[in-house]
């Protein structure tokens, strides 16, 4: 048996009123990749924050034993000194600074008052090569893509002489190709003897890279599964541990599907990039949705799906539009205005609920009515009672878990925030809903509830356009699937003829070669 590098024993961490971790135990062997899985709010990130000293010694109970020694970290610097480096989910890079400056931020080469820039950049280049980046370290971070930025984060961790690398949802903002590259990089690090802990929601990644899988639920460790068997651990097996029950059906069945007339149709839709107007972000796209239909749009990151949806929604993204939009068979000339789109009964539910979707500092009630304030007010004066009643109605309908609709949205969990966002747009009473990654970053249980809402919307005769990066989701939910790649619509399939394989094949064939 290999040496145990890290042992966390009976870790208990309480926040005012909440026990976030309750006697959690974790053992990580040297040279393995250990996956930490669990629903949102299960306590994974809290545990890693305890380990890295963000929650200093004394604020939690239990012991951390690293490399045979009991550790009492009072801040991140202490843990980094021993080689424990954490890479957070949100990238912590300064876009205006160069890669090299970022990598040595807070850890500058040379003397505090006389930084050795030559050494900084030459060292940085060395580590960049290790993670497979060809960029010079003198390039500004904002000029490279998200996938490469994630690699810079890893190079930064290497520069700190990491022995135990913790990756918190490293692939959450990456497309499949970049994700796979990152996972392969992890495997190659493992060969060189590095120990890693990965937190992720994507179970296929877990079975691909992990040696062991620890499942956390409601602040306690449920089990540790060994992934060295003859067959990889099945996703169902992991989900069972996460939710405490077998999820036989991840996608709710739709009954009595009745598909009606074409509600919205676009043809030869072309949109250009707002900053580089010569670049097409949506290129000659034609598609339609019918009443009561769920249409999936699948594509890799950067394929132009969000740009397409936003440009339909009152031209809220892009410049130099061309093409035709028909609603109910009639051509519509829409102004460059979100309000106009809402008037035409189109809703766009953003993929970035915190950044573009919700006003976190305001209550559920205020957010619910925001896109349709007119409906709860007369002559611009808001009727407080009516607004409250509306918010209550949607809280019940969408099962938003909260003590009151006066609760600030910022205090809700991701799944509940997503429901508030949906409530806001359902209250705007659209006929066409453009849902952009409606289940991103929310846990399995909440996902299922969102799927049920989508089915209900379709059953009520609405048109739902479901944009997603998760193939199983698109396959499981849609009646028809469009596939986008590099700004173009490259295929259309009926749900029953689509499979993961033929969709991916279509994308690979249409691409200029990745």
């Amino acid at each position: 048996m290999a040496k145990i590098l890290l042992e966390m024993k009976n870790i208990t961490k309480t926040f005012p009123g909440v026990k976030a971790l309750d006697n959690v135990n974790l053992q990580v062997e040297e040279g393995e990749i250990h996956a930490l899985v669990g629903e949102n709010g299960a306590g994974k990130s809290t545990l890693m924050n305890v380990l890295s000293g963000i929650y200093p010694y004394g604020t939690y109970e239990g012991d951390i034993i690293y490399d045979g020694q009991v550790c009492r970290f009072s801040n991140i610097k202490d843990s980094e000194k021993l080689g424990i480096v954490i890479i957070h989910q949100e990238l912590a890079l300064v876009p205006e600074m160069t890669i090299g400056e970022n990598m040595y931020l807070g850890n500058e080469c040379g003397h505090k008052f006389a930084i050795n820039w030559n050494k900084t950049y030459s060292e940085a280049d060395k580590y960049l090569k290790m993670v497979g980046l060809e960029e010079s370290s003198k390039v500004q971070v904002k000029t490279i893509g998200t996938g490469k930025q994630q690699l810079v984060e890893i190079a930064k961790a290497l520069a700190k002489k990491a022995k135990l690398l913790i990756l918190d949802e490293p692939t959450s903002s990456l497309n499949e190709e970049d994700s796979r590259a990152l996972l392969d990089l992890m495997l190659s690090f493992k060969k060189q003897g590095m120990t890693m802990i990965i937190i992720t929601h994507k179970l296929n990644e877990v079975s691909y890279v992990a040696d062991k899988i620890t499942v956390i639920r409601d602040g306690t460790t449920i089990e540790t599964i060994d992934n060295h068997g003859s067959e990889p651990v099945s996703e169902e097996r992991i989900i069972k541990g996460m939710v405490g029950r077998e999820m036989t059906n991840r996608f709710p069945k739709r009954e009595g599907v009745q598909i009606g007339e074409k509600e919205m149709e676009i043809s030869h839709w072309t949109v250009h990039h707002p900053l580089y107007p010569e670049r097409k972000v949506v290129d000659d796209v034609s598609m339609y949705v019918r009443k009561g239909e769920v249409v999936g749009i699948y594509g890799l990151m950067g394929a132009g799906r969000t740009e397409l949806a936003m440009s339909i929604f009152g031209q809220s993204y892009g410049v130099n539009f061309s093409g035709e939009l028909k609603l109910n068979g009639k051509p519509v000339k829409m102004k460059k205005s979100e309000a106009d789109a809402i008037r035409h009964k189109i809703a766009y539910v953003t993929e970035d609920r915190k950044g573009n979707g919700l006003v976190l500092s305001q209550s559920i009630k205020v957010n619910t009515s925001l896109a349709n304030l007119g409906a709860v007010s007369s002559r611009t004066v808001i009727d407080a009672d009516r607004e409250y009643a509306v918010a209550e109605e949607y809280r019940g309908k969408l099962k938003i878990k909260t003590p009151s609709v006066e609760q600030l949205v910022g205090n809700l969990s991701g799944g509940n925030q997503q429901k508030v966002l949906l409530a806001k747009w359902m209250f705007a009473e659209p006929d066409v809903l453009l849902l952009d990654e409606p289940t991103r970053g929310i846990d399995v249980g909440a996902k299922y509830e969102i799927y049920c809402i989508i089915n209900d919307l379709a059953a009520a005769g609405k048109c739902v356009v479901l944009i997603s990066s998760e193939l199983p989701e698109v396959l499981g939910m849609s009646d028809r699937i469009y596939i986008m790649n590099e700004a173009k619509m490259v295929g259309e399939m009926k749900a029953d003829e689509a499979t993961q394989e033929n969709i991916m094949a279509l994308i690979l064939r249409s691409g200029r070669g990745a």
Partner: protein, 431 residues
């Protein structure tokens, strides 16, 4: 979780605090508590006991700070949109006042003058708002430019000299000289009351005090009582409708706050009644505060101000024309700067080219002391009022107890810093 009791069966101090929401109470009412504490400190100052609570001083407190209330209201709307401030208001106040005084010195009608001053204020606001909302010049810079430019224009208009106001009507309606108080209609209509309010009436003398009995303003007190009743009625209606909807709000807490605020209104009105009644300027302040409390709480544009400050992108994607929200906020503060110009000129009975310097900072400080977030999205008119009164009490109190003028600004600075520090710390604890 909520019913956690330790082994001995007794709740610890911190659990008691938790149960009765003591922390939440202090957090919510920090500035009111600070205001009361500061008032008590000045009221019990050795050798100056009670001076600050004299009716004339309380009247002065409101009248002298009229411009702060008006400007801070406008500033609050700008701050709500995302911590944006307007540095130009001091200069705009002086500029509009300069135009108005010059017009009246030339014999113009007071109402025409008033209208022109408000319109000029509004026009300046629209102009600056254009640069901020449409061209997207940062508000700080656009209004800094305005601050220089309108100070310069003021000097041009005034030729660097003071202009006095001789229009008595103007002074009476907007100023606060001896004549600019709401007259005592009731006593004027019923001269018989003069015989009731004498030192011989032991009951009333005991109630009012013999220094004030002879000139006690009955109208003012009646308005005060009426206002209190209306306030209580509104609060009760709100409580009943909340109860009906089943919103979890502590009823005892609301009753306590209603009683305290009612008592405060009555007490203030009593003090005013003892000293000539309501100053005219209070009508204007009251009107502005009332209208804007309504706008921010109850209207769509008010909601949009909070939403833009909370998350501009999300608001835009909800179909709100966010740039127009900015424009509204800055046009509006221009209009209110015009009003503040009227009040300032009337109070000073004229205008000097240096008037209004630092007004913008008083307005900004009132908003932040009153709990507005420097990042926008949160802040209320009621909080801003408390902030402005707190600043006023500190100013007045320091003058009364004789703090060196040089140190008065130091104290103001410290108060601002401490107030915002409290705000930041209490929010951090919540996480």
């Amino acid at each position: 979780m909520s019913e956690q009791v330790n082994s001995s069966g007794k709740m610890s101090f911190s659990e008691l605090m938790e149960k009765y929401k003591v922390g939440a109470f202090f957090q919510k009412y920090t500035m009111i508590i600070a205001l009361i504490a500061v008032t008590i400190v000045f009221a019990t100052w050795k050798g100056k006991e009670g001076l600050i609570l004299l009716p004339s001083n309380l009247t002065g407190l409101i009248a002298e700070n009229g411009y702060v209330f008006v400007l801070a209201t406008g500033m609050l709307l700008c701050i709500l949109t995302g911590g944006n401030i307007d540095l130009s208001v001091g200069s705009v106040v002086c500029f509009t006042a300069a135009i108005g005084c010059t017009m009246m010195a030339g014999g113009a009608n007071m109402w025409l003058t008033t209208a022109v001053m408000l319109l000029i204020g509004l026009a300046i606001g629209v102009f600056q708002g254009f640069w901020i909302a449409k061209v997207r010049v940062p508000a700080f810079i656009a209004t800094l430019a305005g601050m220089y430019a309108f100070r310069g224009f003021t000097n041009v208009v005034l030729n660097g000299l003071r202009v006095d106001i001789t229009n008595e009507g103007f002074l009476q309606v907007f100023g606060n000289g001896k004549t600019s108080f709401i007259p005592d209609f009731i006593r004027n209509a019923a001269p018989g009351l003069d015989n009731v309010f004498t030192k011989d009436n032991a009951f009333l003398t005991g109630l009012i005090g013999e220094n004030f009995i002879a000139k006690f303003n009955v109208t003012c007190m009646c308005i005060g009582i009426l206002g209190t009743l209306i306030f209580i009625a509104v609060r009760v209606h709100k409580m009943v409708s909340q109860k009906k909807l089943g919103i979890a709000q502590s009823i005892p807490g609301q009753i306590v706050s209603t009683v305290i605020i009612s008592a405060l209104i009555l007490w203030m009105c009593f003090k005013f009644s003892c000293y000539r009644g309501f100053p005219m300027v209070m009508i204007w302040i009251g009107l502005v505060l009332g209208i804007y409390a309504y706008i921010t709480n109850k209207t769509a544009i008010g909601r949009h101000l909070y939403a833009v400050g909370g998350n501009e992108k999300a608001t835009a994607l909800s179909g709100v024309k966010t740039r127009n929200v900015y424009w509204f906020a800055y046009a509006n503060i221009g209009l209110l700067a015009g009003l503040a110009g009227i009040l300032t000129a009337a109070r000073a009975k004229g205008i000097d080219p240096v008037y209004g310097e630092g007004y913008e900072m008083d307005a900004i400080a009132s908003c932040f002391i009153g709990g507005a977030s420097a990042y926008g999205g949160t802040g209320r008119v009621s909080g801003m009022i408390i902030g402005a009164i707190l600043m006023g009490v500190i100013n007045k109190g320091m003058i009364i107890v004789g703090v060196d003028a040089n140190y008065q600004k130091v104290v103001k600075g410290i108060v601002l810093l401490v107030a915002v520090m409290f705000d930041v710390l209490s929010k951090r604890q919540k996480r």
